[in-house]
Amino acid sequence: MRSRKAFKALPTIILLVAAAYMLFPILWVVMASTKTTGELFSTFSLAPGTGFIDNLVSLSTFEGGKFWMWSLNSLIYSGGGALLSTLVSAMAGYALARFVFRGRNVLFTVLFAGVLLPGITLAIPQYFLVAAAGISNTHWAVLLPSIISPFGVYLATIYAQGAVPADTMEAARIDGASELRIFRSVALPMMVPGLVTVFMLQFIGIWNNFLLPFMMLSDESKFPLTTGLYLLVNRGTGTPALYTYAIMGALLATIPLVILMVVLQRYWKLDLLSGGLKG
């Protein structure tokens, strides 16, 4: 009944205008990345320049290839953090959704309060505790706090409730499978579609995180892209040449995630987010 409707012009135009607004800064950074420092300040923003290769080379060789180090660090923090976070969330969500035990409701309530707590306000005490443990200014200082995500556990719980039938677990138990094996071979595969969403939300969340690495790290070679680029703009106030580095860096930091989003968007199960609160 809703398909095969007449073409609706006004809604289509409004949506395309919104899309143009969203794409405009991306177009701008693509154009700006082709400009030399001189062109950046003298030619019209959306006109292409002549310095793309030079900019790429100078950014790549900036302080011995620091930019690529930051990119690698971002990949380690986001990839490693998101993977571990998804696993921890999957195990916890599975336990909360499919087992009946004392303290389950209390745990779920505490966890839910964790979702609503603005985590960023915890960064100061987190820093002191991490420093007391002697791991500040190491990769662990950024990686470990990124692994626990109350929201990830919450989503995994909601998904496991719908995706893992209690009967199948019961059957596996009767067959004599160990609990670990039931989780690994029965529950985990059933939870994969939901876990992809948890992984991507965590990956993007860690990739975009600024405050945590900003506080935990003083060694520039351990920075992820966000703090690294911040460093470039911050210094750029005195040296306009650094602006072209920052622009090229912004482009290179954006493109991989944009591609990832477009490729993986069909695997997102974002109805998890909206459906979640009804349960």
Partner: protein, 307 residues
């Protein structure tokens, strides 16, 4: 490693240890990185370095009751920061949520073309880090590199001071809208898609227009999802940090205590006032928690009434 249940004829025999084993990594990390820091922040907020034992006494941590809290809520700098945050939030949150709702409803209109392209494009900025988003917009605000001012100049209009004391709120709100609108739109859109089609069919048979369907049926059914996006926006607004910090290096209108969180971190690290900063963190965290819980109460009552 784990408990193995012996084959049994009775159903629903569940091992006692298994759930705790699966939960243990999450619990350990939750305690280490959420509960302990919270407890530590609360402890810090009740102590301060005070000189004890006369003029030659040493400075040591002393329990000071609510002194830090009193100092925080009477600190004009914090109040000014909260005022600026409110100014920013009153611009960014309604535009983000209103825009997200409008675009989600439009995506759901039958007969819209290129909907997939629009949907993905609008969602795209979600993957762009706040620092990078601020960089992109920041350069477009800077008088020397702004394409908008270039165009204004070309048609003989005066340049806009995006980074001036007034313009900077709009500048920051625009970055927040750009970054957050798509994510909220997707949440609302997926919620719309989960509404059974039969609900509309009855209305269509009664001759209701798309507008009436949107206003009378879709928006009321979206209330839970709208509240969810509102809570996310509230949390996001309070936690605005990387955007003003990055824009600060491009604009003189942003001070190091512009937003409450910027002040918290400056006080803690640049000024070494961890106790005062801890008290402010606790106030901000509790404030957000209370508002979120109240909103969720409303949400639960609504969903309860509907079902």
């Amino acid at each position: 490693m784990t408990t193995t249940t012996a084959p049994t004829r009775r159903r629903s025999i569940q091992p006692k240890f298994a759930p705790w084993l699966f939960l243990s990594p999450a619990i350990v990390l939750f305690v280490a990185f959420l509960i302990l820091p919270m407890a530590y922040a609360i402890y810090l907020s009740f102590v301060a370095l005070r000189v004890n034992g006369g003029a030659f006494g040493v400075r040591q941590l002393t329990f000071v009751g609510f002194d830090n809290y009193v100092a925080a809520i009477t600190d004009p700098e914090l109040l000014a920061g909260l005022g600026r945050l409110l100014h920013f939030g009153l611009l960014s949150v309604p535009i983000t949520l209103g825009g997200a709702l409008l675009l989600a409803l439009l995506l759901d209109v039958p007969g819209v073309r290129l909907a997939r392209f629009s949907r993905i494009s609008i969602f795209l900025p979600y993957a762009v880090p706040g620092v990078v988003a601020t960089l992109l917009w920041g350069f477009m605000y800077l008088p020397s590199t702004s394409p908008f001012n270039w165009m204004l100049k070309a048609v003989g209009l005066p340049a806009v001071d995006f980074l001036g004391p007034q313009g900077v709120f709009g500048a920051l709100a625009n970055i927040a809208v750009w970054s957050g609108l798509g994510f909220n739109m997707i949440i609302l859109y997926t919620a719309l898609r989960s509404i059974p089609l039969e609900i509309y069919e009855a209305a269509q048979l009664d001759g209701a227009s798309e507008w009436q369907i949107a206003w009378r049926i879709k928006i009321p059914l979206l209330t839970p999802a709208l509240l969810l996006t509102f809570i996310f926006s509230l949390l996001g607004t309070l936690q605005a940090y990387s955007e003003p910090m990055t824009l600060k290096s491009m604009s003189d209108s942003i001070s190091s205590s512009f937003f409450p969180l910027m002040k918290v971190y400056r006080d803690a690290f640049a000024l070494d006032d961890t106790s005062g900063a801890a008290a402010m963190s606790v106030i901000l965290a509790l404030g957000t928690l209370v508002v979120s819980v109240l909103l969720l109460r409303v949400l639960q009552r609504r969903t309860f009434e509907q079902s």
